[in-house]
Symmetry: C2
Subunit: 338 residues, 2 copies
DNA sequence: TTCCGATGTGGAAGCGTTTCCATGCAGGAT
DNA sequence: ATCCTGCATGGAAACGCTTCCACATCGGAA
């Protein structure tokens, strides 16, 4: 029925509609001023010929690419995938395509900022949930496009995120409220992120201090964001002369690792040890893990909407947003024994 | 130091290098025949001017876009994210960009195939892990580009996948080997996928039959791929007069839902009921879930490599691949009690 | 009536490449 | 010495659009 073989150009449409190419272009792009009947005629012909504009020609002529770069580490981890979906949702209707740049591995990341493969290919960049280093920021700016951060604390750009300190406090305050005093922390850091002091850790320290509890360095174990590290960290905590009665993990995945180790040691969660995470990963519900929920999807969506505003040149849209988090009590926390 | 303000064109480079634009283009694209010293000169000038080709102009002139569409449902679910990362890995060095098209929701999916937003924007399409309907296939082919399937049984295109029947058999055979006879199945289906009979279910039926066990319809519960459905399905199984001694779930997420329900009922996994899943989701290791591992990342990578071959016109690369799966025994399965 | 602004339109000038074709030239075969 | 081959090169012609500019037309204001 249709011939995808011969490609139909704007000139063809214009000719058959009996108008000039300029008019045809205006009629199709919708915005410009064209007489209603002329527009109708052009659209009718375009439809009949199965006309599809050539995005490359349009980009070349207009200088706009209609694309957005999505720079994201670790697509395979729930949070990032969820944010990415949120971004896609927020971009709907804006007629923008997403160019995907996974930069999980150190080398990939270095290469991305080195080569800047998105250069000249996008109108904007969304950086998902990672801290952009100073040197990287400078490279990024060579692209000369809008940049927003989704789910990260890249303070240099407009962002949508949660308050990690508050999230951490919600977790810690819950444990403290339950009566725990000997609380361990499984701190997560990205291998190549030179965070000085993650806010989620500050929350630990300050929550303890406010409750008159000394920070015991033995009770703080650092690892990456993976569950395996949580499991190992927990082993270390269990080997202490006096293990903690509760564990605050920086993420649900880390928390689940801890739970496994506790169970393998023949102990019970939460009777012997309480465990709390952060994220509200879908599996947290399935594993009955108490956690602090953060709106992953929404962070993506809001960031995308912000970007659209920026591209349109709306005034005042570049105001960063911090979304609320929420304690979700499940079965992995309880008052300490005794 | 650099001026991202003024855009440098090929003509500028050519002029400063003292060559024609044709020669400059050939020198930069690398492949064509250019005298070594000429090429060196051009490259040097290009580098000095921070020249970056305009992908749009190049696409327009050459007819190649240098982009690949990645059509994927549910980015936020581990398997899809992992396959996507694999695809990205497989594409490295090929200088191809990935255009992301999430089509998780029914409406999104319909809209994608209706509007075909990737039309004229890509040289190829990778469809991740979902069955392309006949009508969708016809739409897709309007694009007139190569298509491959990663991690799905879309038989119409070259694919890389696992054998779902075999994976199911590995799970079932393990349970049977342990001595279970009353085995339930938590069957997962995509809400809008009119699979007749999923191979993972066939495996259940045939494994039982081969072992002389009648299929008890009560023991088969259907849901979607989410953990919640696994939890609910398990409730139903527990309400039977004679609950199963083992549960075969179509995915790890479903299996974990089942485990939660079993535990909440005060029963023990695996002492009272064994549970096995499929996937080897990272959290399966953390929750000690026995499962059948499938190489998600590799499916993506291989599909991407296949695509590169197709685009290069290599002969014989369009041969589909089926990767092996592997039983991973952990702590959620044991012989039946008694 | 004349003039003016608003509105709709056609067409040309880019946009920045790739690629084809013609040309120049060196060197080996005759 | 002459011819031919083949490589390296310059330049022009697409590629298919957007957008600017100029022009025509039409009412209404003066």
């Amino acid at each position: 029925m249709s011939q995808p073989t011969t490609k139909v150009t704007l000139a063809d449409v214009a000719r058959l509609a009996g108008v000039g190419v300029g008019t045809a272009s205006r009629a199709l792009s919708g915005s410009a001023r064209v007489a209603p009947e002329t527009r109708a005629k052009v659209l009718e012909v375009a439809d009949r010929l199965h006309y599809v504009v050539s995005p490359d020609a349009a980009s070349l002529a207009s200088g706009r690419t209609g694309r957005v770069a999505l720079v994201v580490p670790h697509l395979s981890r729930w949070f990032f995938g969820e944010v990415a979906e949120g971004i896609h949702a927020g971009l709907r209707g804006a007629d923008l395509d997403l160019l995907l740049y996974p930069v999980g591995a150190v080398q990939e990341r270095a290469e991305f900022f080195e080569r800047l493969p998105a250069r000249r290919k996008v109108d904007a960049v969304i950086v998902v949930a990672f801290q952009v280093l100073e040197a990287e920021r400078r490279r990024l700016e060579l692209m000369g496009v809008h940049i927003v951060a989704a789910g990260g604390q890249s303070a240099a750009y407009p962002y949508v995120r949660i308050d990690d300190y508050v999230a951490g406090r919600q977790a810690m305050d819950h444990l403290l409220f339950l009566g725990h005093r000997r609380i361990a922390m499984l701190e997560a850091r990205d291998p190549d992120q030179p965070d000085l002091d993650p806010p989620r850790s500050d929350a630990y320290v300050e929550a303890l201090r406010e409750n008159g509890i000394e920070v015991d360095p033995e009770l703080v174990v650092v690892g990456d964001w993976g569950g395996e590290q949580g499991a190992q960290g927990m082993s270390r905590l269990l080997s202490l002369r006096t293990p903690p009665t509760a564990v605050y993990a920086h993420s649900d995945e880390v928390a689940l690792g801890a739970v496994r180790t506790i169970r393998r040691a023949g102990l019970d969660v939460p009777r012997d040890i309480s465990v709390i995470g952060i994220d509200d990963h879908p599996l947290a519900a399935l594993t009955d893990l108490t956690t602090v929920r953060q709106p992953a999807h929404e962070q993506g969506r809001r960031a995308a909407e912000m970007l659209i505003g920026l591209l349109r040149g709306d005034p005042g849209v570049d105001e960063s947003v911090t979304l609320p988090t929420e304690l979700v009590v499940r079965g992995s926390t309880a008052p300490p024994r005794g």
